[in-house]
Amino acid sequence: MQSDARNILKKRLSKFGSYAFLTILLLIVLFPTVWIVGQSFMHEERILKWPIEIIPSEPTLDNYIEIFTTKLSRQELSLFRWLFNSLYVTSFSTVGVLIVTSMAGYAFARLRFPGKQLLFFGLGASFLVPGVMLLIPSFMLMRALGWIDTHHALIWPPLAGFFGVFFMRQFFLAIPSELAEAAVIDGASAFGIYWRVFLPLSRPAVATLGIFTFLFIWNDFTWPLVVLNSDEMRTLPVGLVVFYGEYWTYQGIVMAGAVVSSAPVLVVYIIFQRQITRAVMATGFGGR
């Protein structure tokens, strides 16, 4: 009995330790976030004053009005344009990725053809090619295609990514074959089976892959930095850095810009956090 009591005490203590550690970590993650949001609602004069204020005592929307109405002094551009570019490029590319990779994933999961295994592993080897190796040749390719400083350079290359193929294949493999057999008996074509049986059944997987692709393209920094050079073409992450260079003495405005560009991804993340978490834990993708 004595040792039982000790065990319970030990368990309680270790649980307490877990909570203490997680709370500290949580505060470390949350604190900068609260600070940014606070600063974005603060008058510039107040930001410069000592002592530092975390929660603004006299909140203002001035910084937000400024970034959406005042044009950037140099190019007459606002964050609106970059927000639109990001939305445009990311949506098109994501839809493309979903169509192309789900079709390939379907072929690998449900159809028999010679050379399938070899092809799958051959394509899979591209997983291991590090991004830095592709940067220069891809840039030269864009130059040869005349795509420098166009949105084509951002929309099409992600369609070559293997992750989507792998992800969709895993999902299609798990769908019971009776469903496909029923369609075959009904005389459906291969495309009909894919389109009317498998795709509707894999809506959750398509959604998850869509979210991942969206976040990945939305947040990309190096590639758009390399292939786009005029301010009106830029996407939000690179635009934000240009904006930062322009406004860097105005902390409130900079922070409002950071809040505006994080808000869409954070909203997507919070809505779909369950799917995202599950997919990361199952596939090992989604980090940096």
Partner: protein, 308 residues
């Protein structure tokens, strides 16, 4: 694994005629055509041209393009900045990988042991991963500025604070901490998944044998999640040795001096500021091939470990 599910598909092979087989094969290739097209153009093509570029002198501004054999690689040997940058990148990648693994492992172990608030903690700690490097870079350069929030916090304890991003000795550790803040949520989820996969009975058995908490951690938990550990260590190292955005945004492209000048910054600058495409390509290829082999070895090892 594929053949199993496919053969289950065709429970009755006798009515599976040759024409049907051929038709299925054609359908398979047709389904692959769109993806293969993009793969060949945007992945296979660039990989091949990466190997060509490394062996040519290719000056975009002067328009020269000629085969020079191994000369680019000789230039790398004599390029002091390359070696400084490589050293910085290795230092950064090691620090960040070790930090991420420790923080993420502790967080995952703690998360596994609690139920109340589990989702809240997990969701908040993964959230920074979905933010872009621009936001992280801008926010942390403000946070770590001489009159930034971190120094204001130290002031409360009567400390003068540091100039994190302008001190040659502090700049890489500061960028590393920023990166850990940004990314530890990802390895945390991977470790959490691995921890859930350890059968509870093994812990029970260890406890009955009288093992203490630390003994269980070192002799049961860690060996059993070794594949996940190995996976994270290698992929994190490969990702972080290619660090670019953090110094590009936070230290003005590698400052102070060359204290945070990294290998990808060096490649970027040679390619897109000086337009030495051949030379930059040779550096990228060297780095790329080493990392490719590194990743390959890892997957071989993973294969071995998962067959316990």
């Amino acid at each position: 694994m594929t053949s199993k599910s496919v053969s289950a598909d065709r429970s009755n092979p006798s009515n599976w005629t040759l024409t049907n087989k051929r038709r299925e094969a054609i359908a398979g290739y047709l389904f692959l055509v769109p993806y293969l097209f993009f793969f060949l153009v945007f992945l296979a093509g660039p990989v091949i041209s990466a190997f060509v570029t490394a062996f040519v002198e290719w000056e975009l501004l002067r328009g020269t393009y000629r085969f020079i054999g191994l000369e680019n690689f000789q230039l790398i040997m004599e390029d002091d900045l390359f070696w400084i940058a490589l050293g910085n990148s290795l230092y950064f990648a090691t620090m960040t990988t070790v930090g991420n693994v420790i923080v993420a492992l502790c967080a995952a172990l703690a998360l596994k042991s609690i139920r109340l608030g589990h989702t809240l903690f997990r969701v908040v700690m993964y959230a920074p991963v979905v933010l872009s490097i621009s936001v992280i870079g801008i926010v942390f350069s403000r946070l770590l500025a001489p009159f930034g929030l971190l120094n204001a916090g130290l002031e409360l304890f009567g400390h003068d604070g540091f100039n994190y991003l302008a001190d040659p000795n502090l700049v890489l550790p500061s960028l590393s901490l920023t990166t850990i803040w940004w990314g530890f949520g990802f390895p945390m989820l991977i470790f959490l998944a691995a921890l859930y996969a350890v059968p509870e009975a093994l812990y029970e058995a260890a406890r009955i044998d009288g093992a203490g908490r630390w003994q269980i951690l070192w002799q049961v938990t860690l060996p059993l999640i070794r594949p996940a550990l190995l996976f994270i260590i290698v992929t994190q190292f490969i990702a972080h040795i290619q660090v670019f955005g953090q110094p590009y945004i936070m230290t003005n492209g590698g400052g102070p001096g060359y204290s945070s000048y990294t290998i990808v910054l060096h490649i970027y600058r040679n390619a897109f500021s000086y337009y030495h495409m051949g030379y930059a390509g040779a550096m990228a290829l060297s780095l790329g091939v080493v990392m490719f082999i590194f990743a390959l070895v890892q997957f071989r090892l993973l294969g071995r470990y998962t067959e316990y």
